[in-house]
């Protein structure tokens, strides 16, 4: 386990989220529905350069139903 290569690809937080998602999907149906709510995130972010905001992007693009906000602030 000392040569875990995932560290080159993503951070520990992403690793934890992936494993958490795997655990949630493996739960019994009734528990799974409750647990899925804890993993929901609709986070959007935008980079700022010199006082001007960039495009707002979803962190998890598959949830984008096309009703996203328009670019810049």
């Amino acid at each position: 386990m000392s040569s875990a290569t995932w560290r080159n690809v993503f951070t520990y937080n992403k690793y934890a989220q992936i494993t958490a998602r795997a655990v949630r999907q493996s739960l019994k149906e009734s528990e799974r529905v409750v647990a899925e709510k804890r993993g929901v995130t609709a986070l959007k972010y935008q980079q700022w350069e010199n006082g001007v905001g960039g495009q707002q992007v979803f962190l998890n693009p598959e949830e984008d139903k096309g009703v996203g906000k328009s670019a810049a602030v």
Binding site: A4, R7, T11, Q17, L43, K44, Q47, W48
Partner: protein, 297 residues
């Protein structure tokens, strides 16, 4: 028809603003008051229902906050035992607020605390310290003042109770961005009671400062694991701040809507009095006319 003629009779009422086209002005007055009354009543209904919604959400938010705070406390244990030797030079500010308004002074309190921290002369920080904002309201407030310092902003958090997935996502993006910092200062609203809150900070050191501290060096830790710890503790701290900020927001919204409903009720009482007085004056005038008319016969 009778109503119109009685309204015209309100001309005999002394007008506080002087004597210019009396008839037209006072005819508008009663109608005006009626319209105002209707709109204030609608507003009162809306603010009262918002208050109810905020109260129910507050109960749930407080429960989540109490359990989420444990993560934050457990998190800070490490940093208490491994204080950093050198004071942090470059600080990254993460401002925790939300996207929705009508919640009193939540967003401006956090924005003001951030601006105060940046302008602080006791513990000076770089004038170009990077700032990351969670929540549109604080983002627009800070973008007006310190827009050059803004590095990234997040939104769509705070619609419901914040999840650890939100916090982990934010921490992930903070780590992946190429912003330089020695420590992170999270500015959020601390929940004191159901009627009061105040801005507070959580400070999280980054991986290098952690490695250098004496308490930490006493153990031999692999670099990888240290980095994991730094990342995870950042996510924990952000999560604790998010849930507490969310609870503060719900309580502030409930209080604000409560005050608004009270004010609306006072306005309704006052306007109703005014309206009734005007109506009764009109009726009285009509009676007087009828009686004088009858006695003249």
């Amino acid at each position: 028809m009778l109503a119109r003629s009685s309204l015209a009779r309100i001309a005999s009422q002394p007008s506080p603003l002087g004597a210019a086209p009396k008839t037209a002005r006072n005819m508008a007055t009663l109608r005006e008051i009626e319209l105002r009354l209707k709109s204030v009543r609608n507003i009162e209904k809306i603010t009262k229902s918002m208050k109810m919604i905020a109260s129910t959400k507050l109960a749930k938010a407080q429960r989540a906050m109490n359990s989420g705070k444990q993560y934050g406390l457990a998190n800070s244990e490490i940093f208490q035992h491994a204080p950093s030797e050198a004071p942090a030079k470059r600080k990254l500010f993460i401002v925790v607020s939300s996207d929705k308004g009508l919640c009193g002074g939540i967003h401006s309190s956090v924005s003001k605390a951030t601006r105060r921290a940046i302008a602080d002369t006791e513990n000076p920080v770089d004038a170009d310290s990077p700032i990351m904002v969670i929540g549109d309201k604080s983002k627009s407030q800070l973008a007006r003042v310190v827009s050059k310092n803004l590095a990234m902003s997040f939104n769509q958090i705070g619609r419901d109770i914040p999840t650890f997935a939100d916090a982990a996502g934010v921490a992930d993006l903070v780590m992946k961005s190429n912003v330089q910092y020695d420590s992170i200062v999270i500015v959020y609203n601390k929940f004191i009671s159901a009627v009061s809150y105040e801005p507070a900070i959580i400070e999280v050191v980054n991986e290098n400062s952690l490695k250098e501290s004496a308490g930490f060096r006493a153990y031999e830790m692999e670099d990888d694991v240290t980095r994991d710890l730094a990342e995870f503790s950042l996510a924990n701290a952000i999560y604790a701040a998010l849930v507490e900020g969310h609870a503060c927001e719900q309580s502030a919204r409930r209080n604000a809507m409560d005050n608004a409903s009270k004010n609306a009720k006072d306005m309704i009482d006052r306007l109703t009095m005014q309206y009734n007085r005007g109506r009764q004056a009109a009726i009285t005038n009509e009676l007087v006319d009828i009686i004088t008319g009858a006695s003249a016969l």
